[in-house]
């Protein structure tokens, strides 16, 4: 897959490879030992953040609350709030108890 910064695609691939391995073999297994991808991530980010600025892509926004459902969105990153306590933000249970005004309920995916 290409990066939004054409020059960053190779750095992205290198990082993705490192991340995918770490994610499957360490993170998901509860292994909290260090992240081996910090350096490749840094190189990739330097490139892609520059491309984002050059293309003037407004990445720092957050979705507007368009309806009066009492729920909490994921906050924009980076943010001190989100770093300190993620778990309190996930209020799916509260939300799923609300009446679902679905146009298509229970659509079965997969076969």
């Amino acid at each position: 897959m290409n990066s939004v910064g054409e020059a960053c695609t190779e750095l992205k691939r290198e990082y993705d490879q490192c991340f995918n391995r770490w994610f499957a073999e360490h993170f998901l297994k509860g292994d909290r030992s260090g992240d081996p991808c910090t350096e490749t991530f840094r190189k990739y980010q330097r490139c892609v953040q520059k491309a984002i600025k050059e293309k003037d892509i407004p990445i720092d926004g957050r979705p507007e609350q368009r309806h009066n459902v009492d729920r909490i969105f994921l906050l924009p990153f980076p943010s001190q709030q989100i770093r300190s306590s993620i778990d309190s933000i996930l209020l799916w249970d509260q939300f799923s108890r609300l009446k679902c005004e679905c146009k298509a309920v229970g659509m079965e995916m997969g076969n």
Partner: protein
């Protein structure tokens, strides 16, 4: 105002496999409209959750009658942000996706929860919700209808894309 949509689907793969596939889902045969994909923020929180922000560029597939209302200088591609939180302890993943371009014309926000299927532990349940709205005077209803129809179509493609990537992973 706006359209609300929700559905629950499932994938016949474990939650772990689905999370792994989540980061490898592009490209796939059902994602030709996705042009670029970038992680623009990622961190492991003190409670060992992985939070990430992904920026996607997609082709803007608006019908011709809608394109008339797009500013001429606006690119034919749309920018989308996807935030995600993965909790390997609770075995849940929550994602929030929204478009940061064309938002006044039509805004689509999607929230998904991926968890172990309560009836079959080796499957993954995906609860999906979307809010589709448009603030374009006089056309908002037509745009919302179009948006909802396109969203339902894209949900099918998303699931097919997932199944494709999962099958490829399991074949390795």
């Amino acid at each position: 105002m706006g359209k609300y949509f929700c559905c629950t689907g499932f994938l016949k793969s474990t939650w772990d496999q689905v999370c792994i596939a989540f980061w490898q889902r592009y490209p796939n045969p059902y994602s030709n409209h996705v042009l670029t994909e970038d992680i623009i923020f990622r961190e492991v929180t003190p409670s060992n959750c992985l939070i990430s922000r992904r920026l996607l560029t997609k082709t803007s597939r608006a019908p011709r009658w809608m394109e008339r209302y797009l500013p001429k200088h606006m690119a034919s591609s749309a920018y989308i942000i996807e935030d995600s939180i993965i909790d390997p302890q609770k075995r849940t993943m929550t994602t929030l996706t929204w478009n940061i371009s064309h938002a006044r014309l039509m805004s689509v926000e999607e929230r998904c929860q991926y968890q172990i299927n309560p009836e079959k532990g080796s499957w993954t349940e995906i609860k999906r919700e979307a809010w589709i709205s448009s603030s374009l005077y006089g056309l908002s209803r037509a745009i919302q209808e179009f948006g909802l129809a396109r969203f339902k179509n894209s949900v099918t493609k998303t699931m097919k894309g997932f199944e494709y990537v999962l099958a490829r992973m399991q074949g390795q």
